[in-house]
Amino acid sequence: MQRIGVFICWCGSNIAATVDVVKVAEVMKNEPGVVFSANYQYMCSENGQQLIKQAIKEHNLTGIVVGSCSPRMHEATFRKTAEAAGLNPYMVEIANIREHCSWIHKDMDEATEKAIILVRTAIAKVKLNAPLTAGESPVVKRALVIGGGIAGIQAALDIADAGFEVDIVEKNATIGGRMAQLDKTFPTLDCSACILTPKMVDCAQHEKIDILSYSEVEDVKGFVGNFNVKIRRKARYVDETKCTGCKVCMDKCPSKKGLNAFNMNLNTRPAIHIPFAQAIPNVAVIDPEQCIKLKTGKCGICQKFCGVGAIDYEQKDTFIERQYGAIVVATGFKPIALDAFNEYGYADNKDVITSLELERLMNAAGPTNGVLLRPSDGTHPKVITFIQCVGSRDSSGCGKPYCSKICCMYTAKHAMLLREKYPDTEVHVFYIDVRTPGKNYDEFYRRAVEQYGVDYIKGMVGKVYNENGKLMVQGSNLIDNEQITIESDLVVLATAIEPEPSVRKVATLLTASIDTNNFLTESHAKLRPVESPTAGVYLAGVCQGPKDIPETVSQASACAAKVIGLLVKDKLKTNPCVAIPDEMMCNGCSQCANVCAYGAITYVDKEFRLGGGKTEVRRVASVNPAVCQGCGACTVTCPSGAMDLKGFSSKQIMSEVEAICKK
């Protein structure tokens, strides 16, 4: 029989004013299994805890029930108290007689009666509690960062600076990501490349960082502290160790008609190319779709001209497997496709461009060498109209229901830069709202309006159409309540952003969850914003939700801090309240694994004795306690009741039900 101690807290008058605490404590003395029952003004106080410790020792208690405030408040406290007195911390149950009783009931008799039932219920449960010990699993002291944009770079640098090895897996031929495409950054208007490229170089030179560019995550096994990741290194047909980045091959390559993705396809590049001048690694890559040699077998010019013999047409994809303790997902974003937005005439008019295209057109390293020229005829546009919220905050189904968050600020930036560089241009901005929360953001926007004379028009654009070579932007001005049409030379769409599509595969591999917009879900919106619900997986940058560079960098650093916090540990304590299968009952039917959000359940073949010297091999479930989070979904799916949850076992819950229903 268990020896249960009951401790009823007054919580000053918080409980005692409505619940007859003395009576409750007195009644509990007669409960079967209870050998000690007391009440005290403040159980959580030093003296209160002392009382509990003393009782545990004196009465050799096997379990305790504290009738007090919510377990969400002080369960941890009382568990520590119990542990200090030599009792397993999981032999503690809390009866919530404050939030669920004294604070909501006025009648003393009624509240006292309920408190008695609640304490009894906790006693019924604690009698079935079993001592639990947190398990331990070792930690591999290496982190993986998926995505080599600013988020990935920042996270990797921070982790590496703390002394841990980091691998960056980047699917493109270079790290740098979206930020490398930008011209200037708000609200300071410093040059994007100037602040990003040093970081890229830092990465390349950091002895703890290994950049796996042109690579993708192929498979993930294991769990927090012990991920086993298979990485595909795509064939770039250039030996990374030999290429010096001299670019001779690029000049000689006869196939120069490939669309330059880095420049948003606004110009072309050779089949063998280095994406941009500051690429890291500064190594060429051959586009197999475009390379004449790879397609037809004839050519091989680059190989001839390569001084170091780096070209290898026979290269194949290779796979490497590495172990990591933690994974940071920083897969970034892309602008949405604008196919569904016919009203803006993006597909039909070369001079209707996206903001990211504008970035390239304004960038000194861009297709126009930084001179703003219309894509259609290469003339300098005089009237430029910006349209905000293209595909953002759009619940019609064409676009995205969320706010892309960065557009207001970069449009202000664009408008300002244009007006500064080409004071003769007229700049109009159609907006629904201008959202500028952030340090110095609103000031920045106001500068655009007040100092630079950008024409902000509150209203929606109904239609953009071409009339005699002019782009007619037809919209409404809600302030003046009139329909207006602006004859423009260039129209810039503040296109909504969405998570990079490859995130879906990554999420599946990591059993990380994804919301309806394909953003990765954080563990808790407020309190665990950089952690995925999958332990050991962290989220940085736009893969988790739209954000600008400062936010992305903060989040990346936060991720790094979390990762470092994880990797400094030699062993991880695992939550002991995890699912546990009874192998004798398990049918191996796989239903439990189907509902496990964490991939904690696997199946093993196990031999069972049947009696009479016979044995039988059966497939049975096996739960990895380091991965299981203890939700209990599997326990209900299991028809034979083989799966149970420690700390919330079926028997415990049923005994609670019994105690409550007993009249």
Partner: protein, 325 residues
């Protein structure tokens, strides 16, 4: 049916003789014309007692749980509806698929001897089926019955076609049927709660907790049932109280929800003729309505409706108020 039987026998003989399989599961002759029993045949000689007729209603798929563990391959004759159970069992890793040789066989709706007897016929000597007519010869004479009146309940609303990736098929093409298997369920749904309660009380009051429904059910393939597990908190054997059998049947129906192939064995074997299939069909109907049509056992892989979800699933309270579609 006779020609099908001949073909089956031929195949069984060939498979055993060639050593391709170690045993064949089929039916053997009983004491009467209407009580063939499931049996396994290990030699060609044993096949003398082999039979396949209009009374071979039993679903043989569940036997494969044990049989597929034995040495050598097991050949099995599965009727169209049995193949669903088979798939479901394979899906749940209960049958070692590689140890089984499946021969899908024609069914043509099996007869229910109890229904024949309920027509006042006893001492049945032989039964012959011609089209929709059933000619029953008994010690008291010959009577002709209308077949749909005397088929097994499970066959009356069956539209199943064989689903297993067969090794072979012995089957005549069967015309598609247009029957609504949810008719009875809908009738019950249309009643008031009091009427429904009265109906089920009346029916379940007959339950003797013999567990025939559970033990025959291919979805109830647990190594040990929760009701037999003293640790489960609901283990029970008693029947006579108002609650017990209700609990048993609710939990059983819930446990097989999304997995029940609607093979109808539960109702076939119930000694008290409780229409147990109407319990499972309610789940099937709700699943079809709420989460899209789903037929358990159509394939031997994939998740079941209760182990999957969509973000826009109906809300329980709407379902209760009949507002969910």
């Amino acid at each position: 049916m006779k020609d099908v039987e001949m073909k089956m026998l031929e195949r069984a003989k060939a498979l055993l003789e060639s050593g391709e399989v170690a045993r064949v599961i089929g039916w053997k002759k009983g004491d009467f014309c209407f009580d063939p029993a499931p049996a396994s045949f290990e030699t060609v000689e044993e096949l003398d007692n082999f039979v396949y007729d209009y009374f071979c209603g039993a679903n043989l798929s569940k036997y494969l749980i044990q049989m597929s563990k034995k040495e050598g391959k097991t050949a099995v004759f599965l009727k169209p509806c049995d193949t669903y159970s088979f798939n479901q069992l394979v899906k749940e890793h209960r049958i070692k698929r590689e140890n089984v040789y499946v021969i899908a066989v024609e069914c043509m709706a099996k007869l229910d001897i109890e229904k024949i007897k309920a027509k006042g016929i006893s001492m049945v000597e032989s039964v012959e089926v011609v089209g929709k007519e059933v000619k029953v010869t008994s010690a008291y004479g010959v009577e002709t019955l209308y077949k749909p009146d005397v088929v097994l309940t499970k066959c009356a609303t069956c539209t199943k076609t064989h689903q297993v990736k067969d090794e072979e098929i012995i089957l005549h093409e069967r015309p598609a049927r247009d029957v609504d298997r949810f008719e009875e369920v809908a009738k019950l749904e249309a009643m008031t709660a009091d009427e429904r309660f009265a109906f089920w009380r009346e029916q379940l009051s007959k339950c003797i907790r013999c567990n025939a429904c559970r033990n025959v059910c291919p979805a109830c393939s647990c190594v040990k049932c929760v009701f037999d597990n003293p640790a489960s908190g609901i283990a029970a054997k008693a029947n006579d109280d108002k609650f017990e059998e209700q609990l048993f049947h609710v939990i059983r129906a819930f446990h097989v929800a999304g997995r029940c192939t609607d093979c109808g064995e539960c109702s076939r074997v119930c000694p008290q003729n409780i229409p147990l299939h109407l319990l499972n069909r309610k789940f099937i109907k709700d699943i079809d309505n709420l989460y899209g049509e789903y037929q358990a056992g159509e394939t031997d892989e994939g998740k079941t409706p209760l182990t999957s979800y969509t973000e826009g699933d109906a809300e329980p309270n709407d379902v209760m108020n009949g507002e969910a579609k």
